[in-house]
Every structure is written in structure tokens, then in C-alpha cells.
């Protein structure tokens, strides 16, 4: 982040608007509280003390999509669940991001059958795919940090 040097001893920091906003957005990307399958177990352990997502300002899972910034699709999306996931995504307020966690959410994984959506990107736009079955907490955190890199690259012209 391009923070320009301090002006004397005034304790004032100057920066660009984009940098400040993106810094704020990456600092508290609240995820939506929901899990669909076994990846949610790994997601929970990412949240818990050993890996501690609070370091990224993500200790708070919002149970309401209106207050969530990030949707982590943790698990396979069945075709019965797909309208629900899409509705949750539509209810989230902008700006919003989506992490597809695990093979099943990314491409259907081992569930190549009639009941499972072959990748959640068929129903909602995905920003970061995390591979693994299920991904370890380190992999999910790498996905989150990758998303942070993407958010930091957003510009005013891209804002909706």
C-alpha cells in the first residue's frame, strides 16, 4: 500500500482514496456464516484458535447476508441448494466476493452426477478457487490472502 511519508511529527498519514478503501475492505472481510459439507469443518478449524482468522479481521461470521462481504462456498452445491445459494448471494450488499472452497464447489469434484452443480461458478461469479478435498486451513488462508491481493488491485473505475 503506497502510504506516503509522514509530514513532520504531525501524526498525519496521506494516502490515496483507493488504497485507504481497499485497506479497509481487506482488513475486515466478514464472511457469511454457512457451510454446505465437509469443507465447512475445515473452514471452522480455520476460524478456530490454532489458525485464527481473526488475524485477518475475519473472526466475525455474519449470520445475515446483508452484513457479509465474503461468501465462502464450503462444500458441494446440490441442484436443490443452488437457488438458495444464489439468493444468499443476491442478498449480500456490494462490494461482495466469493471464494469457492474445495474441489466440489469449484468443479463438482468427485460428484459428477445429476444432483450436484458442476462448479458453483455456474450459479454465482467466483473470485478465488481453493483446491483440495478438503483444503487444509493453510490453503484456505492462502485463498483469502489471494483475495486480499485482488481487492487491493481494485480501482475507483471498477467500483459499482
Amino acid at each position: 500500500m503506497g502510504v506516503t511519508p509522514k509530514l513532520g511529527n504531525l501524526g498525519v498519514v496521506t494516502t490515496g482514496l483507493e488504497d485507504a478503501v481497499n485497506w479497509a475492505r481487506t482488513g475486515a472481510t466478514w464472511p457469511l456464516l454457512f457451510g454446505l459439507a465437509c469443507c465447512a469443518i475445515e473452514y471452522m478449524s480455520t476460524q478456530a484458535g490454532n489458525y485464527d482468522l481473526a488475524r485477518f479481521g475475519m473472526e466475525l461470521n455474519r449470520a445475515s447476508p446483508r452484513q457479509a462481504d465474503l461468501m465462502i462456498v464450503a462444500g458441494r452445491v446440490t441442484r436443490k441448494m443452488a437457488p438458495v445459494v444464489r439468493q444468499l448471494y443476491d442478498q449480500m450488499s456490494d462490494p461482495k466476493w466469493v471464494i469457492s472452497m474445495g474441489d466440489c464447489a469449484s468443479c463438482g469434484g468427485v460428484y459428477n452426477n445429476y444432483a450436484v452443480v458442476q462448479g458453483v461458478d455456474e450459479i454465482i461469479p467466483v473470485d478465488v478457487y481453493v483446491a483440495g478435498c478438503p483444503p487444509r486451513p493453510e490453503q484456505l488462508m492462502h485463498g483469502i490472502l489471494t483475495l486480499h491481493e485482488k481487492i487491493k488491485g481494485e480501482r475507483i473505475a471498477d467500483w459499482a
Binding site: K80, C107, N112, Y114, Q118, D121, E122, I123, I124, P125
Partner: protein, 178 residues
């Protein structure tokens, strides 16, 4: 308490309903009685209520699709797995229904617990249970097309991606928009 001696279900059924049993099979000491669809309620009720039989617990209702092997009486088989908690023995009552009219009388009048079992059989295999109080889909979405456990139902809707066909598949993949 006076518990009557257990009866042989085939002999008892033959005495009470002479034309009900079409065939019997024994496989690994498990007895299967094959009956006509219209006899299902009477036979099940008889097996449940007769002293000496008391098959009082309906374990499961399982439909089977024998497509494309047509050496059976009909395409679909519907099995009722019943269990006697009094005598600790099991029995399988099976019936066959045709593809163009897969209708079996409901067992919910005998066991209310047959409700969801029959709904699942209807959802997955398309068996129609005549007289069922609420024959909706149980597992699949309400607007689903077809019955997925039929043998002629396509398994998936997308070819498995490998490196040689990934470009072709990704070209037709319905990616979502914002």
C-alpha cells in the same frame, strides 16, 4: 404372557388367501414372497395382524429397476421388507409393476411410516402409490424432471474434464454473471 407359536408365513397365507402368493424365493435363508400389486394391502395387513406372524414393523420399501433385463415379470419390482419384533424374523414381500403403469396400492393405511418411504420411491423411481395422502417428491426439488434412480436416467450432465477435452467443455459451461 401367552405368545402363540410362530407360523410359517407361506402356509398361513396360502390358507387365508389362496391365490395371493405367485412365487416364493429363498436366498441365503431369506424368504421372499412374490404377489400381485393389488394384493399388497391385504397381504401386508394379514401378515401384520395374524397371531403367529405379527410382522409388525415395516423396515423399508425399496423399488428396483430391472431395465434392460426383461426376464422378470415386469420392469419394476417393489419390495416391502417387514420384520416381526415379536418373533425376531424378517420377510420380504415383493411385487412387480409394468413400466407404462407403475401403480401399487399404498401401505400408509397399514403403517403410517410408509408415507416417506413411498414418497422416496415415487421421487427416485417413479412408482405411483395409489391412495397415498401426500405423494410429493421427497428428495429432489419439486420441479425436477424425471426419476433419477431409473436405470435409463442419465448419470450426469457434464462430461468429466481431462486435459484433452477441457477447452471444449469450458466453452459450453454456463458461467454465472453478476
Amino acid at each position: 404372557m401367552n405368545i402363540p407359536d410362530p407360523l410359517d408365513p407361506v402356509a398361513a397365507l396360502n390358507a387365508a388367501h389362496p391365490d395371493a402368493i405367485k412365487d416364493t424365493k429363498t436366498f441365503r435363508d431369506e424368504l421372499t414372497i412374490i404377489i400381485e400389486p393389488q394384493d399388497v394391502p391385504t397381504v401386508l395387513r394379514y401378515l401384520r395382524d395374524t397371531p403367529g406372524l405379527i410382522y409388525n414393523y415395516l423396515s423399508d420399501i425399496s423399488p428396483v429397476d430391472y431395465y434392460p433385463e426383461y426376464d422378470r415379470p415386469a420392469r419394476f419390482g417393489v419390495s416391502y421388507h417387514i420384520y416381526s419384533m415379536l418373533y425376531n424374523r424378517r420377510l420380504r414381500v415383493k411385487t412387480f409393476v409394468e413400466e407404462d403403469e407403475p401403480v401399487v396400492p399404498t401401505a400408509t393405511t397399514i403403517w403410517p411410516g410408509a408415507n416417506w418411504l413411498e414418497r422416496e420411491a415415487h421421487d427416485m423411481m417413479g412408482i405411483v402409490f395409489d391412495g397415498h395422502p401426500d405423494l410429493r417428491r421427497l428428495l429432489m426439488p419439486a420441479d425436477w424432471d424425471g426419476h433419477p434412480h431409473r436405470r435409463d436416467y442419465p448419470l450426469g450432465y457434464e462430461t468429466i474434464q481431462f486435459s484433452f477435452n477441457v477447452e471444449e467443455i469450458m466453452k459450453h459451461k454456463p458461467f454465472a454473471k453478476e
